[in-house]
Symmetry: C2
Subunit: 526 residues, 2 copies
């Protein structure tokens, strides 16, 4: 990282630590480097329960976000004179939000788009956001389209105004649940010299637990914008959903939820939110929760409770992001998603919906891993390792010339029971869950050997059977013999062989000295 001064279009550096669409990255700013995934805690100077200095010194948070609209309206020149860092008493990275969301919710517009860009520059913000038009949840197509076009117009205009070459700018992508608009907005914003792109307007969607919709929106945007651009998700700040968003490619978040929830007496956990009164025990070891019991906190005054909860909520967010980074680093992000999916049916639906993005995930995930992978149930077939195995098996594996028999089996390896000549003319496929019929010679390769699973071969997923069917369709001219295959897998094998006209011999008896010469009469022929 020799020369990082001056204007940089790509201040984001991807590290080799990747899993699914998630990655650990470094964002280079004027004030230092920010490791991602990261959540900017949003600071409200009017009501802040934890001072910016404490956020940095006690919580180790090297970047915060503050609303430029609120700063301008309430403090105006005082912030310009001091600069936002001195004004907030914070020497880390300060991102400023344009306040577009507040204007959407509370109405009114105090500043013209160009004014708010200039204001962010004038206060010395490190990362700014143009004044976009958020797409309200439930907006019809025309309304959404108008907002998208106006956002694009303002984005172009902004680059005529921006003069501070060291500031980074976030380009908000709009369109909401109109995925085609979202896609065209992503394309447009990617063409402008933004350093960071952002998915706008998810707040209502998050409030309504529509994680399925959110997933679609993130995947749509991420499949269009280049991997070199960090993706920010506006207004997302609950530990239960970070892993989903990161797995689909979000790098940055900002949220005031830690403080807003605290004001409402709400306690965040990675599996949901609880009211303080509902807690008899703190399911947490953080600095706040290890000091007190819920009954003690409840007896304190409102200010203490708010401060206590803000501290805990922030710790819960920080802990979950660390856990996600560790999962990216050790390749267990899918497993983490599966755990978080059981925090709420809405998250479960989104996890179940990962099947829609399996191609995208497969393209971006690392092709091998140090650790093993876990297989729990059918939803796990969509993990990239399993999808990739099936894809590569179909693309790369074929039956060599001269082989005219496939022996499909379960249990112990029958190869030693065959004579040399017979082995030359035979290929062996072992039935394993969840991969299906797997060539014997691939059994010890990744990910087959590294998969620790639950379930029996009877539960082998239908998708695995379909892959084998497709393989047989592409590789004609063999007969199949089965050994120790029964139940549903055998039935499906029979169906496929009948459909494709492949001779099938069931429960072939290879005998103690190999099968050379004779077949037993016990075999049934179809």
């Amino acid at each position: 990282m020799a020369d990082r001064d001056g204007p940089r279009l790509d201040p984001f550096e991807q590290t080799p630590e990747k899993d699914l669409m998630g990655r650990i990255g470094r964002l280079w700013t004027e004030r230092g480097v920010l490791e991602t995934p990261y959540m900017f805690p949003v600071v409200n100077p009017l009501t802040q329960p934890i001072s910016p200095r404490e956020l940095r010194e006690r919580f180790g948070l090297g970047a915060i976000m503050v609303n430029a609209h609120i700063l301008k309206k309430n403090f105006g020149d005082a912030v310009v004179d001091k600069g936002v860092h001195r004004f907030l008493d914070y020497d880390g990275i300060i991102a400023t939000d344009s306040g577009a969301y507040q204007i959407l919710v509370y109405g009114g517009i105090d500043s013209a788009p160009d004014e708010i860009v200039r204001f962010q520059e004038s206060i010395g913000s490190d990362i700014g956001v143009i004044l976009d038009i958020p797409t309200p949840y439930g907006a019809n197509r025309e309304e959404a389209e108008r907002g998208v076009l106006e956002t694009h117009r303002r984005a172009e205009e902004a680059f005529g105004i921006i003069s501070d070459e060291n500031m980074l700018w976030i380009g908000p992508i709009q369109g909401g649940t109109h995925l085609d608009l979202l896609a065209s907005s992503a394309l447009k914003m990617s063409s402008l010299p933004f350093h960071i792109l952002a998915l706008g307007s998810p707040t209502q969607i998050l409030k309504q637990y529509r994680y399925d919709l959110l997933s679609k929106m993130i995947a749509t945007v991420r499949s269009i914008i280049p991997p070199s651009k960090p993706l920010h998700l506006f207004g997302a700040g609950h530990p239960s959903m970070f892993s989903l968003a990161v797995a689909l490619g979000c790098d940055l978040f900002d949220s005031a939820s830690y403080a807003l929830f605290a004001r409402e007496g709400r306690y965040m956990t990675e599996y949901g939110t609880m009211r303080l009164e509902e807690l008899k025990y703190f399911p947490c070891s953080c600095s706040a929760c290890s000091e007190y019991e819920p009954s003690e906190v409840l007896k304190c005054d409102k200010g203490f409770i708010e401060r206590f909860l803000a501290e805990h909520n922030l710790n819960a967010c920080i802990e979950e992001l660390r856990r996600i980074k560790q999962a990216i680093s050790d390749g267990s992000l899918w497993e983490l998603l599966g755990q978080r999916a059981r925090a709420h049916p809405a998250l479960f639906r989104a996890f179940a919906g990962m099947s829609s993005y399996s191609d995208l995930l497969e393209r971006h995930s690392p092709s091998t891993k140090d650790g093993g992978i876990f297989y729990f149930d059918r939803l796990d077939i969509w993990r990239p390792e399993i999808q990739r195995y099936w894809k590569r098996f179909l693309e790369r594996y074929s039956i060599p010339e001269g082989v005219d028999e496939l022996i499909v089996y379960s249990g112990s390896d029958p190869i030693k029971r065959l004579g040399e000549e017979e082995i030359r003319r035979t290929r062996f496929f072992k039935l394993i869950n969840p991969y299906g019929f797997v060539p014997w010679e691939l059994l010890e390769s990744f990910p087959l050997f590294q998969t620790e699973g639950s379930g029996t071969i009877e539960e082998v997923p239908e998708e695995a059977i379909s892959v084998f069917r497709e393989f047989l369709r592409r590789n004609r001219g063999v007969r199949i013999s089965s050994l120790r295959i029964s139940g549903r897998p055998l039935q499906r094998l029979k169906d496929i062989c009948e459909e494709l006209g492949i001779p099938l011999e069931i429960n072939v008896d290879l005998g103690p000295g190999g099968r050379t010469g004779a077949r037993t009469g016990s075999a049934k022929h179809i």
Copy 2:
């Protein structure tokens, strides 16, 4: 709790906080009250990384366990002279283990069974264990039976020796995976005046991740011993499995794992164990993990690392037990099990195996809950609320005299479309996932109304269909009309009606003014 002095056979008090077979309880000892579920951290005076005084003062741990065999062998009279509390500098509850497990593993026997009972009394232990014969994992039936009988003999003998009336005694139940032996041992030990019963010998089973076997053992024992007896699980101390054990009825644990794992550089989490070198981020907010980053800890000397990890591991155990207690208190223990099941396929198998204990769970779980319940997938049909609904529906709900038609429907309620006379002769059943066909009048009762689920009615589990089949078998003489039912549920309805000879009218058109008088020709009749 007026008079709690003197000998007490039942020093264990159950609170109303219960979920599944788990409960929050209070164990009254000479030195104070212990809230359960609880894990006694095992203290080894020869190698202890965290002093007993710190365990109490910094970690808030009001009870520890120490091995009487190790005390006697290494310190003998010094412990007797000082008393174990002064010797260990710990003024909380001290439980002593007899050392039977060490004798099993390392062989040799230094003390006769009566000597070790007397020794525990003489040092002033608060809770003692008789010298039992643990059943080694893989022991054949005869070997196991010999150990069980000898344990019973020693247990009877112990009550001839015990003189300290204020001490509590733990009776170990043996038999290992020989469930009939385990059952007879549970029965025998329950008949003796032990204050606490314990499931012995799970260490090898835990080491081999055989949580499925462990579940069977706990359920076997818990179905025999009275609820008033707390159940201790020897040697269990990993946060990933506490919830499973508690859900099946374990109240107490003891373990030195926090320290032993620390010595081996291993870091415990609720979803598994990692080596310190594998960690780039600490996925935890505890006092240890919020001070340092893994790379910093790795640079320190062996002693510091061991101490650091012991501290974290202990915090991880404490946090998980708090989380479990909170889950018992708010009725979400099943949800917690589901999350932990995705920590490892072995835990998932055990969770999937909960179906075997659904009767036991159903009998002991509270019959109503303040909060809602989540339904994620088919494994959740075994949760007591759903099982109980089906059971009660079959036991208590019947079709009144004069009703000759059942309208089964999905979507919006069709009642208003019918005339008064027709309503009198009709009952309505709505198809919902996962409950199946549910009487209209029960839709807003617990747990139906309180269930938040994922999945569509197409995914309604086969078990729900079977319940409706059984209901129809018991309630003859009606015809069925279906409205907006299609796909697999309709097919199954057709199968059942055909099997039971019930007339079925499909996609009945109730018309705008009710159906009185005429039926449309569009309906198909079977």
